[in-house]
Symmetry: C2
């Protein structure tokens, strides 16, 4: 059996096979970031993402945006847990023949994002590699009361999404601002039951929430915010790499949120959480999960 | 200018250029692991290493040893700070055509090392990649009083090294036990002024200590423990990837250490720390730094 017959999600799960975590692990593999024992009031958040040339970016896009993306995707993960990023370590694999200007631009991209989000760059490893590979590991923290997991969605919750979805390959996937400010506003002022960032695509990521929460959902297709870069509805819910937030919260709270939302970032109520899991029907403007 | 004209160390330093770390960073880029504010009595330690197929290992060596190495090199870094490893996240880039057995063996190697050293595997990322790439990020902690930096070597310190050096390419570089138990014994029972693990080669790594500490050293060439796999003295001090510990401590303490050393692991006093930096002479059985 080969890797491609298995799929990415199953491959990660295989690592956790037969592992019993110690009591200091609050949540391990299976959320946007690991949740770890820390101080009396706070948890540590720990996440890591690898970007590979040819798969996640082309060399012709230049180093700067690649650097930005490598740190931003991790910030997006910390944001989706309700937390604040703090410390990053960078591993960089580069061909020895690569122009130093490319790496300098890449580092500048990382530094600019780090400065904006007050992240300390505290470590690095550089190795020779045929293709460019960047791995960023990010450590953050979250007040215990503000932690949001994928698994907390409740029946009747309203489902919200930030921004507009789809067509991110036209540029947004490399050049986006992680929704950290929005996420912190949400967890500090509202009762958010579950949250995830849109990396695999709205439907796929919403399904992660629903599976973890053992719930179903009804999505109002007409309410899904479609980016002008998306081809159509399908593209909006499937393309992925939007790095927007999907979250669920009690409907009454949701109505308050819509009134108080202080950001320019678009906010859309796109559906509700139901009791049972159903198959996707796609008919009549609703999508069932 | 190309990467190969610059060298690995300068490339890492470029990342830190123009960066001001916040007060929560005790020590950033430039030691075996970053040292970060944590609790009243303890610091966090944060480190990351990337292994690339063809550079750090051959696919024909099998997945198991590669998995072991990927976690062990990071444990070695935490050990060299005097700390204890706790949480690891794994990023894995693999060709989609790779046999699943290879990945299963690799994961088993990681799990076996994690179990032995009581490390929780708390996260993972898997991506498609032409060559196999593994990045492990490791989080640990150290009691403030037990932290050892590279920069603490003092004039008159005795220099010690564990194990035997050189020829690690014949097998040890893939199959070694990080000196965590030894390091913890050292920091809990003795006054260790500086420590590093031997990854680049004894002379290169000792020089990291001396540069950070602004000191020189005299190495007794005949006291350097040469592995039976090393070609000669030069190979022993230059090959690297030994993953032994080099450390310095007051000479009187050193004499006590030699008497009380409870491990089968060899312990050798190989030189002393001097006031001034000098050039390597290599003559008459001494090497000056």
């Amino acid at each position: 059996m080969r890797i491609k017959d298995l799929g990415e999600f199953s491959l990660i799960k295989r690592l956790a096979k037969d592992i019993k975590s110690s009591a200091r692990v609050i949540a391990g593999i299976g959320d946007d970031a690991a949740v770890l024992r820390h101080t009396r009031d706070k948890y540590l958040l720990f996440t890591s993402d690898m970007l590979v040339e040819g798969k996640h970016f082309r060399k012709t896009s230049g180093g700067y945006l690649v650097g930005k993306k490598s740190l931003s995707v991790n910030i997006s993960d910390i944001a989706a847990m309700g937390g604040v990023p703090m410390f990053a370590v960078i591993s960089l694999g580069v061909p020895p023949s690569l122009d130093l200007k490319y790496v300098d631009a890449l580092y500048k991209g990382i530094r600019d994002v780090a400065r904006r989000f007050r992240i300390d760059l505290v470590g690095g490893d550089t190795v020779a590699s045929e293709k460019i590979v960047i791995n960023v590991s990010l450590l953050g923290e979250v007040e215990k009361k503000n932690l949001v997991l994928r698994s907390g969605a409740k029946q009747g919750d309203a489902i919200f999404v930030t921004g507009a979805l789809g067509g991110s390959l036209k540029g947004k996937h490399l050049d986006f601002i992680p929704r950290l400010e929005e996420a912190r506003f949400l967890v500090k002022n509202f009762n958010i039951n579950s949250m995830i960032d849109v990396s695999d695509g709205l439907f796929s990521d919403l399904d992660h929430i629903l599976k973890s929460s053992r719930k179903g959902a009804l999505v109002y297709e007409k309410a899904v915010p479609i980016s002008k870069h998306a081809k159509d509805f399908k593209s909006a819910v499937r393309d992925g790499e939007d790095f927007e937030l999907v979250f669920t919260m009690p409907r009454a709270e949701g109505r308050k949120l819509v009134k108080k939302w202080p950001f320019k970032t678009r906010l859309s109520e796109i559906g509700k959480v139901c009791k049972d899991r159903r198959k996707i029907t796609g008919a009549r403007g609703y999508t069932h999960f």
